[in-house]
């Protein structure tokens, strides 16, 4: 039972902490997950912006040197004079300087004049269309941007470039099966600048970089945008450039550890970015790892969507962050459960130990102890219980004492009663003789004065004996009260009236303070009057002339064991008081402190008997030299005892 309280408490504590822990775990993880993911997506989105700027910047690093070159006097002269050798030299310098993969010049009729690298002087006629110069001549202004270059053009420019541009497609999970084996076109950044001198179009200078297998842009993104950050030996940031959906430039690692060139973008991304020309930001698998990715379309110089620029951040970093946070949550929850269990143990101990002591104490009471050890009182409800228990034990003790006293008293009365009755019977017959003959003698006229006085003494002494025997008989006469409704105020008044003469003679004032509307009591009027008389006489005897005796009658808060209400009559004198050692014996038969001849010692014993037969009680409070108070309590209805 006790263990079960403890277990219940601990289980409750653990349960609450478990529920709170689990709830915060779930909610916290979800919130954290969302925050981390949105933060990561935001970051990747910004990273994509940075990557795009780097991509565009690369275009400018082509456009600017080209423009600068066309402004040079030497270049103009060489072009005007068609000094091919000099032009080739200048092209080569420029290409080196601007790290161009290709550069060349066409004349005003779009015929190639010369180019950097091998095949510096075009030999073939009917060359394939040059997208740079064609567009520049169409617009009549310098142009720069992204171009898709055909295999033929690349081959004419430089067979090595065509070779570099050719990318074998690698089957990629999450994509449609390849329709061709290889990508031969090239994606390039390039520019073309028409050279006009004195209103005459001398030619068009063009140049660019092939992005196929290029590492510069993507690695710059990795270095600058992602600061070459590594996580568990792998780069966190990745960048890729796609021609259509084919990865042509990337630092995403392939299965074999190289660059995953030739793999393709996921179908979903392709649909969104190439199909709907939208930015796409999502957590997605890239080759073998999960990444937080962002893609955006690449438009060529004509505004057509020709590829995709994509960046990705290794998801594992964020996943691990989530996991470590989650494990902290779990750890805290587990810690909380242990703490709850400990607190539960402590609280249960605090709660249960006083209860246990109470149980031990009640066992002690059962075994008869009336001063059980209940330990220190606690300040809570258990403290109230402990107090109530103490009070209960005290009340039980008092009751036991009272009933023991009552039992002793009634046993005393019964035995004294039996003795008294027997003695009375034996004494009364001879006493009749003594009384008769004394009185007969006293009637004689021929007695001497001395004889008459002696006879008178005999008569008085006999009268005393008669009174004593009568007292004994009264005491033993356990008559059942003849009950009737009695107005207590009236009864007290009439009793005081009976005593008035005696009080007046002694010079004692007897004052009655009645309570109005006092309920009537079902009692034996005569018996109760003798009780009041007895106590009043004692009071008057104890009181000095000039002092006062106060009698009160009032409804009492007291109830007896049967729960009956009652009336209390108090008789207070300011007399000599009763010595503490006499208080116990006050109601014993034949106990008296009065001089011989002035009391039988039966008055209070008889009075107590009468009150007890009414179901009431008499309490006495007294202080030597200050006086005594007799409180007589009787129940309103009374019961036959």
């Amino acid at each position: 039972m006790l263990y079960s309280i403890r277990a219940k408490l601990i289980a409750g504590f653990i349960g609450v902490s478990l529920v709170v822990g689990a709830f915060s775990l779930v909610v916290g993880t979800r919130l954290l997950d969302r925050a981390v993911r949105s933060e990561a997506l935001m970051r990747v989105s910004l990273d994509l912006n940075s990557a795009r700027e780097l991509y565009r910047a690369r275009t400018r690093t082509i456009e600017v040197p080209l423009n600068v070159t066309t402004l040079g006097y030497g270049f103009l002269t060489a072009l005007k004079e068609r000094d091919i050798g000099d032009l080739i030299l200048r092209l080569g310098r420029m290409a080196d300087y601007a790290s161009l993969d290709f550069a060349g010049i066409v004349d005003g009729k779009k015929e190639p004049l010369c180019r950097s690298g091998p095949n510096a002087v075009p030999s073939r006629r009917n060359p394939s269309a040059n997208p740079f110069t064609t567009f520049a001549l169409e617009r009549g202004t310098p142009v720069s941007g992204t171009f898709v270059l055909s295999h033929e053009f690349l081959f004419e420019e430089n067979p090595q470039l065509a070779e570099r541009a050719r990318i074998d497609l690698i089957p990629t999970p999450g994509t449609q099966p390849e329709t061709k084996r290889a990508e031969t076109s090239g994606l390039a950044l390039g520019a073309a600048v028409p050279v006009v001198h004195d209103g005459e179009l001398l030619g068009v200078l063009y140049g660019g970089v092939l992005l196929n297998r290029d590492t510069k842009i993507v690695d710059t993104v990795k270095d600058t945008v992602f600061h070459n950050e590594e996580y568990k030996g792998r780069s966190v940031g990745r960048a890729s450039i796609f021609l259509n959906d084919v990865r042509i430039s990337t630092n995403v690692p392939s299965q074999d550890g190289g660059r995953a060139i030739g793999t393709r973008v996921a179908e979903e991304v392709k649909e969104h970015v190439l199909g709907q020309k939208e930015r796409w930001t999502r957590r997605a698998p890239v080759i073998s790892d999960w990444y937080i990715t962002a893609y955006e379309p690449i438009e060529d110089i004509h505004g057509r969507t020709v590829g995709i620029l994509g960046v990705g951040v290794l998801d594992e970093k964020y996943a691990d962050m989530r996991w470590s946070t989650l494990s902290v949550f779990v750890f805290i929850t587990v810690l909380g459960i242990f703490a709850a269990a400990a607190v539960g143990c402590f609280v249960a101990g605090r709660l249960v130990s006083p209860i246990r002591r109470l149980i031990r104490a009640s066992q002690q009471v059962t075994e008869g102890s009336l001063a059980p050890d209940i330990g220190p009182e606690s300040g809570d409800e258990i403290g109230i219980l402990q107090k109530a228990f103490k009070e209960m034990v005290g009340a039980v003790g008092r009751r036991r004492m009272e009933s023991q006293n009552r039992l002793i008293m009634s046993e005393k009365q019964a035995s004294v009663g039996r003795l008294a009755a027997g003695v009375a019977h034996e004494i009364n017959n001879p006493l009749t003789g003594v009384l008769t003959y004394t009185h007969m003698l006293l009637r004689r006229k021929d007695l001497g004065e001395e004889v008459r006085a002696d006879l008178q003494t005999i008569a008085e002494a006999t009268e005393r004996v008669r009174k004593i025997v009568k007292g004994l008989l009264d005491f033993s006469r356990q008559t059942t009260p003849q009950r009737e409704k009695v107005d207590v105020n009236k009864l007290v008044n009439s009793t005081i009236a009976l005593m008035e003469n005696q009080a007046l003679v002694k010079g004692v004032d007897v004052k009655f303070e009645p309570e109005e509307n006092l309920p009537s009591v079902n009692m034996d009027r005569n018996q109760f009057q003798s009780v009041l008389l007895n106590i009043l006489i004692n009071g008057i005897d104890a009181t000095k002339p000039g002092d006062r005796i106060t009698v009160t009658a009032k409804s009492s808060d007291l109830v007896n064991e049967a729960g009956q209400e009652g009336v209390e009559i108090s008789i207070t004198d300011r007399g000599c008081g009763i010595a503490p050692e006499h208080l116990d014996k006050l109601f014993d038969p034949f106990f008296t402190t009065k001089e011989v001849g002035h009391g039988t010692g039966l008055g209070l014993a008889v009075s107590l008997g009468i009150v007890q037969r009414h179901g009431g009680s008499i309490r006495v409070r007294s202080e030597v030299g200050k006086g005594s108070t007799f409180n007589i309590w009787v129940p309103l209805e009374g019961r036959v005892v």
């Binding site: 009364n428 017959n429 009749t432 006469r477």
Partner: protein, 122 residues
């Protein structure tokens, strides 16, 4: 007038005889049997009887007296006043009850009272 006094105690009989002897003719007997015998021979105006006596007690005498001589008043005496005695006395047709010990005056008063009442009735 003749009065019958019944008591097992000699001193009580003598006392009654001494007090009442001046004014009445008094027969003193020591038991119920003697009393019944006396009553069957003589006529009495009043009977004084002690309740507690060895053998047939005062109550037995009361019943016999009331059965045979219902007109004779009876005064019951007792020095042993318990609840039971008082209840028994209350059940009888006794004219009055006289508690022992009594003074001559008390006895005379009780007897006079009963006789006066009887006279009134008669």
């Amino acid at each position: 007038m003749k009065i019958l006094v019944v008591d097992d105690e000699r001193i009580v009989l003598e006392s009654c005889g001494r007090v009442l002897g001046d004014r009445f003719e008094v027969r003193l007997v020591k038991s119920t049997d003697e009393a019944l015998e006396a009553m069957s021979r003589e006529a009495f105006s009043l009977i004084l009887v002690d309740i507690k006596m060895p053998g047939k007690d005062g109550m037995t005498l009361m019943r016999h007296a009331k059965d045979n001589w219902p007109d004779i008043p009876v005064i019951i005496m007792s020095g042993y006043v318990t609840n039971e005695t008082m209840e028994e006395v209350a059940k009888t047709d006794a004219a009055t009850f006289l508690a022992k010990p009594f003074t001559p005056d008390e006895l005379v008063e009780a007897v006079d009272q009963v006789l006066m009442k009887e006279k009134g009735h008669g």
